[in-house]
Symmetry: C2
Subunit: 223 residues, 2 copies
Amino acid sequence: MRDAFHEDLERTSEQLVEMTRLAGSAMARATTALLDADIALAESVIAADEEIDRLQRTLDDSALDLLARQQPVATDLRIIVTGMRMSADLERMGDLARHVAKVARRRYPDSAVPPVLRSTILEMGQIAERIVSKAGSVIASKDLNSAVELEQDDDDMDRLHRQIFTTLLSGDWEYGMECAVDITLVARYYERFADHAVSVARRVVYLVTGDWHQAYQTANAPR
Amino acid sequence: MRDAFHEDLERTSEQLVEMTRLAGSAMARATTALLDADIALAESVIAADEEIDRLQRTLDDSALDLLARQQPVATDLRIIVTGMRMSADLERMGDLARHVAKVARRRYPDSAVPPVLRSTILEMGQIAERIVSKAGSVIASKDLNSAVELEQDDDDMDRLHRQIFTTLLSGDWEYGMECAVDITLVARYYERFADHAVSVARRVVYLVTGDWHQAYQTANAPR
């Protein structure tokens, strides 16, 4: 019975990794849809969010089932509860990708991103893809080094986020208010996406070390 | 032993209600700080967020403790897991109040809110206060009618959120880009605050009825 239980935990972990893959793919495609004003791609991201939501419900149902049937304690209990929290983070990351796609759709046939910010948004999209992929590695391998690297990616995301505001407030913004509002929101979606990825990684660190303080020390380790 | 367990559940419920009270107070004070450019009030909101975070950690610790010690099944299990999710929503609502206060602080000694939007932001603040107070009533009394009312408040919040964008994009915005960026973000913070309150209420509905579909029907009931 114990073996079946640990197989269930293993499957949970695989499903979480699958969620990171879906969230990363959604954000990558949303970024392309935004930059290229690709309405079909935007629609596909919006539609695909249902798959991430469905996976979260599956994960939650199995977690509740495991808690009820196996009555786990100690580490096993923490693994299950942490899994539920990670799936909530990843579901939200899917929502944020959908929000980016919706901005692309709303501004079609124009691109919501003015030329001056194309490379910044492209880089934010790439960091988003990278950070969630690292979160997947952290889940799959419990590799604390990837968790540290991922915090570096988050710092890069924050830097680009600030850079967007600098451009918006530079005084020579010439793309109008609608574009400014869209960019303000889009930049926040990317930044929140990265925050949730950090949260996923920190939960794994906590699970491995049993210590939030350690999770934050890892976060602030010199690099 | 069973009685002590249900006393623990009751205490959890009281702590969740206390979190709604703290989140509501934080958002009310953040709104005043924003409208009146009151830096001391803004600082107090920013500092007080730690109390909400602390309460969430306390709730999480007791939930894990209850799961490990009491090995609950069926309804009791669902109550505990749902409580953890609600505390996560409420913690996030505290963060959003802090974000509003930080905008007030950043723009001090100016107010971030131009005259043309004062009444809208005031109303968003009042709805935020009301909606989280109703979420508290729903937790305390399992009253599904309050859950329905609260969805109405959320609709009002969404309407004001759209109204802000209409003002921003009207073509005669005269308050500059910094103000536009701040207002875009602040409006989103209020809207997300209300979303989390709705989420809290729906979780209670789900707990009472055992049915997400029902929770959403309640949400869409004619009023």
